[in-house]
Every structure is written in structure tokens, then in C-alpha cells.
């Protein structure tokens, strides 16, 4: 595969969130508005690139017995640097994100890609893979945040977009979008849409569905 495909593949068809089910926590929890979501995406991408690069460079020397803990240490150090940087240059956002910056350590995308990809590929491919997966994550996170902020507050990046009823407009905010569970619905519907367009992603049914007609004849 060429480097370009490593970057484009995870955007939709191998998306870390909707296909690999990785890195959900932050995608759900910090997607209330665009600004924190964007900062979160940038943070995750930087940590992901760093960890994939380091693990790939060290892939021939990492001893198997302590491989995981070394990877986690590398990731945690990168997260500390990101956390301190945010505290210094974007303290407001850092406060909004609160513990979720630290939780990038346990964002499964990062350890997942290190284990599944960087351990077997060279640095260049690993960075490409990190960028691809990072952007795939960012698309979903920022997309969900855009919908939630637009419908929940009528704004994008805190700039008014839809005229609110309180200000004499026509748009009544949907308070459900301000609550975290709404992200579940949005991602659920998104997966539905993607799988309807790309049927090969759909899961194989474990059991044939019970049709209403069947139930009538059997009773």
C-alpha cells in the first residue's frame, strides 16, 4: 500500500471510531462544542503521531516482556507535554476538557495503532498511519461537535449561526444536544448511514430475525 492510502483508508472505510470502535470516550464526552473538540483532535493527533513514530523506531529493541508498559510510558509522557502546553497556551479550553486531556493516555486508538501497526512497520508508514487514524478520529469528533453545537446552542465556534428565538429569530435550541447521551444517538445514526452506504461493513446477523408472520403461524 502506498503512503497515501495509509492516510486515506482510516478516514471512512477503516475509521477508528465507527469501524474499529476505538477512542470513543472522548469522542462522546468532549463533543459538546467545536472549540474543545478541535483542540482535543489536535492533541490526540500529536500524541498519536509521536507514539506511532517512537514505537516504530524502537520496534526492534522493545523487549516483549515489558513492551506494553514502555509504550504506555511513552504515551503518558507525550500526554503530559500536551497537557502542560494546553495549560500554558489555552488554559480556558484546558479547564473545559478537564480530565479528558489526561485520558488521552487511555484513548484506545493510540495504544491500538501502536500495537496493531507501528510494531510491524517502518517510521514513515507509521506516521502516515497515525495521521490517517488521527484525521479519521477528528472527522467524527468535529462532525458530532458541529451538529451538537449547532442544534444545541445555535452557534459554531461560539459564533451565532442560527437566529435564536430569545433574540427574535426562529431557532429554538435543542437542549438534548447539550447532554452527553445525544452523542450516542448521533454516532449510532452515523454508523447506520455509513453501513447502509457501504454494506460490506455491516455485521453478520447472529440469528435470523423473527418475522411477525412466523410468530403467528407457530403459536
Amino acid at each position: 500500500m502506498s503512503l497515501v492510502r495509509y492516510v486515506t483508508e482510516p478516514l471512512v472505510s477503516e475509521n477508528p471510531i465507527t469501524v474499529q470502535i476505538l477512542g470513543l470516550c472522548s469522542a462522546l464526552a468532549v463533543s459538546r462544542s467545536m472549540e474543545p473538540a478541535l483542540i482535543m483532535a489536535v492533541s490526540v493527533i500529536s500524541v498519536l503521531v509521536f507514539s506511532n513514530l517512537m514505537v516504530s523506531l524502537l520496534r526492534h529493541v522493545l523487549p516483549n516482556s515489558i513492551r506494553l508498559i514502555l509504550e504506555v510510558t511513552l504515551i503518558a509522557s507525550a500526554v503530559i507535554v500536551v497537557d502542560e502546553t494546553l495549560k500554558a497556551y489555552a488554559p480556558g479550553i484546558s479547564e473545559v476538557l478537564s480530565v479528558f486531556v489526561g485520558l488521552i493516555i487511555t484513548n484506545c486508538i493510540i495504544l491500538g495503532r501502536a500495537e496493531a501497526f507501528a510494531l510491524r512497520h517502518g517510521p514513515l508508514e507509521s506516521v502516515a498511519d497515525a495521521l490517517g487514524n488521527g484525521f479519521g478520529y477528528a472527522i467524527i469528533l468535529i462532525g458530532v461537535a458541529a451538529i451538537r453545537e449547532l442544534l444545541g446552542a445555535g452557534t459554531l465556534f461560539d459564533h451565532p449561526v442560527l437566529p435564536l428565538v430569545e433574540a427574535g429569530g426562529w431557532f429554538r435550541t435543542n437542549h438534548m444536544m447539550l447532554y452527553a447521551p445525544s452523542a450516542f444517538f448521533l454516532i449510532g445514526f452515523l454508523i447506520w448511514a455509513i453501513r447502509s452506504l457501504l454494506p460490506r461493513q455491516a455485521e453478520v446477523r447472529e440469528y435470523p430475525p423473527v418475522r411477525a408472520g412466523y410468530r403467528e403461524t407457530s403459536s
Partner: protein
């Protein structure tokens, strides 16, 4: 992936190498960034004070904030007597630095004068919220009995729930509320109790009742006898007003 021989020595060597690399990276980053964070924290604190004093808005530039802050009169007062402590720089005095839950004996207050007359006084208040210590500034009008503004400086309440105590809409309910009734009793509170007249009462936040009540409790505690009561009486006398 490494499939070759793994001796204990080599494992140790790699572990130490990675540990050294990580600690070097973290140390350098922290060393470079801590001063930036400290400077920012100082400006943010001044911003909260200046905002409470009604001078600059929340998005004013850092320079404006600092110069507005220096235009206030900062003095350190002794809570027990209400007297001004001489020889201490009120602009840099930080009674929160030590932490802890006890009321410190000396506290800085910030006065805004316009052409010689007191316009507003900004009082730092703090106390336990639902989870964390809330630090805030309460500004009073020159009558020392009317709330001019309430600004939350920092808190660690639950994101999305308790952090609504910073909601501008809720904070906009504060200005104009009165603290003591004609008899001099402190009846101001954050509650939904209709027996307290509306001009002495700020409604709680739906869904963040515990945190908003905590704010009311800490404001009451700081305005009482153990808090600013004596200092405010002394201030009124100094400024030549009858409280």
C-alpha cells in the same frame, strides 16, 4: 516486533533508556511551560478582579487587564479587627496560596475610586462547593449592601453540571441584590425559598442545586461576623459614609 533473545540485562537497558528519554522530555517541557502558566494565572486572576470591579470586560487584552488592575486601590485588611495592615503590598498579596479550609487572618480587598469617591469594593470569597474549593470575587456598590457583580475565578465542580455556576446568565442575576435588611440582618442567600424576598435572593441553578447553594453558603459565611462584617464597617467609616 522483537523475536530474538531477551536477556534481563538488555530488557533493563531498554527500560532505563526509555525512562530517561521520557523524563528528559517531560522535564524540559514543564520547565519551559511553568512560567507561562504562572503568568497566565496571574493575569486571569487580575481579570476576574477587574471584571468584578466593572472596569474591563471578560475578553479585554492582557495589558488592559493589568493596567486596570493597577488603577484599583488594593489593601490588605485584618479580618478580626477590620483594620488595614500597613506595609503589605495588596496587589501581590495572595491569601489563597497556602490553601486549606481555614479563614486566613489577613485578606486583600480591592477598592475602585472615581474622583475620590468609592464606587465599588471587590472582596475575594472562597469555600467548599460540591467537590472542590470555589474561588470567587464579590463586588459591592458604594453603599456596601448592594451586590454589583459576582465573578467565579476558579472551581473544580463537575464538568457539565456544577460548572454552571460560571454561567453568565446565572451570574447576571446577582447585580442589584441586597445583603442585609433594614434591621441589619444578613438575609441574602442562594435558594428557592419564597419566604426570602426576591431582592435578597438569587435562585439556584436547576440541575446544579448543590453547587449553587454552596456558593450562597460561602458568600454568607464571608459576609458574616467571621468574615468581612468588621472590615466593611471600618471601610465605611474610613470613606466617610454612614453604612
Amino acid at each position: 516486533m522483537n523475536t530474538g533473545e531477551e536477556s534481563a540485562g538488555r530488557t533493563m537497558l531498554v527500560a532505563v533508556g526509555v525512562a530517561l528519554f521520557c523524563s528528559a522530555m517531560v522535564t524540559v517541557a514543564v520547565h519551559l511551560l511553568r512560567p507561562v502558566q504562572a503568568a497566565y494565572a496571574a493575569v486571569e486572576r487580575n481579570r476576574a478582579i477587574v471584571e468584578a470591579a466593572g472596569l474591563a470586560s471578560a475578553d479585554a487584552s492582557d495589558d488592559t487587564v493589568v493596567s486596570d488592575f493597577l488603577s484599583l486601590d488594593a489593601e490588605v485588611i485584618e479580618l478580626g479587627t477590620g483594620a488595614v495592615v500597613e506595609g503589605v503590598d495588596g496587589y501581590s498579596f495572595d491569601h489563597w496560596a497556602a490553601g486549606g479550609d481555614t479563614v486566613p487572618p489577613e485578606v486583600p480587598i480591592y477598592l475602585r475610586h472615581e474622583s475620590g469617591r468609592l464606587v465599588r469594593v471587590v472582596l475575594p470569597v472562597d469555600g467548599r462547593g460540591m467537590w472542590s474549593t470555589i474561588h470567587a470575587y464579590l463586588a459591592l456598590e458604594a453603599d456596601l449592601n448592594t451586590v454589583a457583580a459576582f465573578v467565579v475565578y476558579e472551581h473544580g465542580e463537575t464538568p457539565g453540571i456544577g460548572d454552571r455556576i460560571q454561567n453568565p446568565q446565572w451570574l447576571s442575576l446577582w447585580p442589584g441584590k441586597r445583603l442585609r435588611n433594614a434591621g441589619g440582618d444578613l438575609i441574602f442567600d442562594v435558594s428557592d425559598d419564597p419566604s426570602v424576598p426576591a431582592e435578597y435572593r438569587v435562585d439556584t441553578i436547576t440541575g446544579a442545586t448543590v453547587s449553587s447553594r454552596a456558593v450562597g453558603r460561602l458568600v454568607r459565611a464571608w459576609l458574616g461576623e467571621d468574615g468581612y462584617a468588621r472590615a466593611l464597617t471600618a471601610l465605611a467609616r474610613r470613606e466617610g459614609m454612614t453604612p
